[in-house]
Symmetry: C2
Subunit: 249 residues, 2 copies
C-alpha cells in the first residue's frame, strides 16, 4: 500500500481541532489540489469561499445546527455549485445559454464538479496532517447562507468543509460490505442476496456500537437510516434551487 | 510538497491505454479507497458497477458517444447515485421513507456521495501508476445505460470511470485563476473584477492552444463554454430522474 492510499484509507471525520489556523500556504495548496480534479468538459462549474471572519463563522455554525466545530477550527471553506460564471460567459459572449444553464443535467454537472474538487481538498489536507469534516448542515438554511456569502443567481452552496489540527483521533466506522457497494456487470438482481448483505452489515454495525459503548448501544444501520429518512428534511430545496435558476427543466 | 499532493496535482485525463487489465487486487484497493470517502450522515448512497464483459463495454462506449477508450481500457466502473438501498431499508424496517427519498435534497446527497467516492477512486488509481478518465458521456442515454446495468428504481448512473496503464502522457490544461475559484469571505461582488479574471483566463487558454497547435487554434475558454452551452443537452434528464423516483419534491 502506497502513502496516497494509506492517507485515503485513514480518513475519519474530525470534529475537534486545536486553536491554530491554517497558513496561507496550506490554504493555497488545498485549493490548488481542489482545482486539479477532473471537471466535466472543462466546465469548472464550482467555487470555493473561504471564511475566516469569526462573526460569519458563528452565524454559519448556528445555521448548520449549532455545531461548535463549524466555528472552532483552523479554516472553513464553503463549496458551491456555480453556474453564475457561465451566466457571465453568456454575457461576455452575447449568447443565450439559459436552456442549458437551467437544466437538471447542468445542475448535476456543477454539483459533481464541486464534489470532486472538495474530495481532492480533503485528501490534500489530510496528507498534511490536518483533519477535515464535511458540513452538510449548511443546507439546513441555504437562503440565509446565500445572504451571508452574497452569492448571485445560479450559485448553490452545497456543503462546507472544516480543516484543522486534530486534537484527538476518532474511530473509523465500518462501511457497507464491499460486495454490496461494488457489483459486477449489473446491479444485484437477487433481492434476497441484497437483503442478506444489509443484514450482515447490520450485525457489523451493531457489534461496533456495542464494543464502543460497553453494550449500551446496539442499533443497526437500517434502523438508523429508517429513523433519519422517516421524515422529509430540507424539503424547501427543490423550490429554492429552481428559484436560483437551476434544476428547472 | 508531499507525494499525495504530487499525485493530485499531477492528474490529467487519460484516454488511451495499454491492453492490460487491472488485477483484482487493484480493483479491490480502488473500491476500498472509494468507500473510505466521507458520506453524508453515513448514508452511503452510491453504488459502483464494474464492467468487464466486452459486449457491454462496447454497448456503453457507443452510448457514450463512440469513445474507443470506454471500450479499450484496463477496467470500467460506473458510479451511481443509489437510493434504492434506502428503499430496501424502508422495506426491511417497515417504514415509509418516500417523502425523504423523493426529495431534491436526497438526490443531491446521493450524487455528492457518489462523486466523493469516485474522486477517491481516481486518486487511488493514479497513485498506483494508472490513468483514469471520467465518462460523463454515459448520460447521453441513461435509459439504455440503466437497461444494460439492470438498475432498479432510485438508482442513477452518474458517470463512468475508465482505468488503465497509460500509453502516453497528456498535457495538463491550465485551470481558472485560483483567485477566481477561491474567494474570501463572500462571493466576488465586483462584476468588473470577475469579468477581468475570466478575460485573463481567456488569454492563458488561448496561449495554451496556440503553443500546442503551432498557432492554428486560439479559442478562448468563454467562447468554448458559450458554444458548448448554447444548446440544451440531455434535456430528458429532469423527467427521467423524476420517473426513477428521485428529485421529485
Amino acid at each position: 500500500m502506497n502513502s496516497v492510499i494509506e492517507t485515503i484509507l485513514n480518513h475519519r471525520s474530525q470534529r475537534s481541532f486545536l486553536p491554530r489556523p491554517l497558513s496561507n500556504e496550506q490554504i493555497k495548496m488545498i485549493v490548488e489540489s481542489a482545482q486539479a480534479a477532473s471537471t466535466s468538459s472543462f466546465i469548472q462549474a464550482y467555487s470555493i469561499i473561504g471564511i475566516t471572519n469569526p462573526d460569519k463563522k458563528r452565524a454559519l455554525a448556528e445555521l448548520a445546527g449549532s455545531q461548535t466545530y463549524v466555528e472552532e477550527n483552523g479554516h472553513l471553506m464553503i463549496f458551491c455549485a456555480d453556474l453564475y460564471r457561465h451566466t457571465m460567459v453568456g454575457e461576455i459572449e452575447s449568447r443565450n445559454l439559459k436552456e442549458s444553464l437551467e437544466s437538471t443535467e447542468k445542475f448535476m454537472v456543477a454539483s459533481i464538479d464541486a464534489a470532486l474538487a472538495a474530495q481532492n481538498a480533503a485528501i490534500a489536507a489530510e496528507s498534511m496532517g490536518l483533519g477535515i469534516c464535511y458540513i452538510g448542515g449548511i443546507r439546513n438554511n441555504l437562503p440565509e447562507v446565500c445572504k451571508i456569502l452574497k452569492t448571485p443567481e445560479r450559485v448553490i452552496p452545497l456543503f462546507g468543509m472544516v480543516f484543522g489540527y486534530p486534537d484527538q483521533v476518532n474511530d473509523k466506522k465500518p462501511r457497507l460490505p464491499i460486495e454490496h457497494v461494488y457489483m459486477e456487470e449489473e446491479y444485484e438482481q437477487d433481492k434476497e442476496v441484497y437483503t442478506e448483505q444489509l443484514e450482515s452489515y447490520n450485525r457489523t454495525i451493531s457489534e461496533y456500537y456495542k464494543e464502543r459503548t460497553g453494550g449500551k448501544r446496539a442499533d443497526t444501520w437500517t434502523s438508523q437510516m429508517a429513523d433519519m429518512l422517516s421524515a422529509g428534511r430540507r424539503m424547501y430545496m427543490k423550490a429554492f434551487i429552481e428559484e436560483k435558476g437551476l434544476n428547472r427543466k
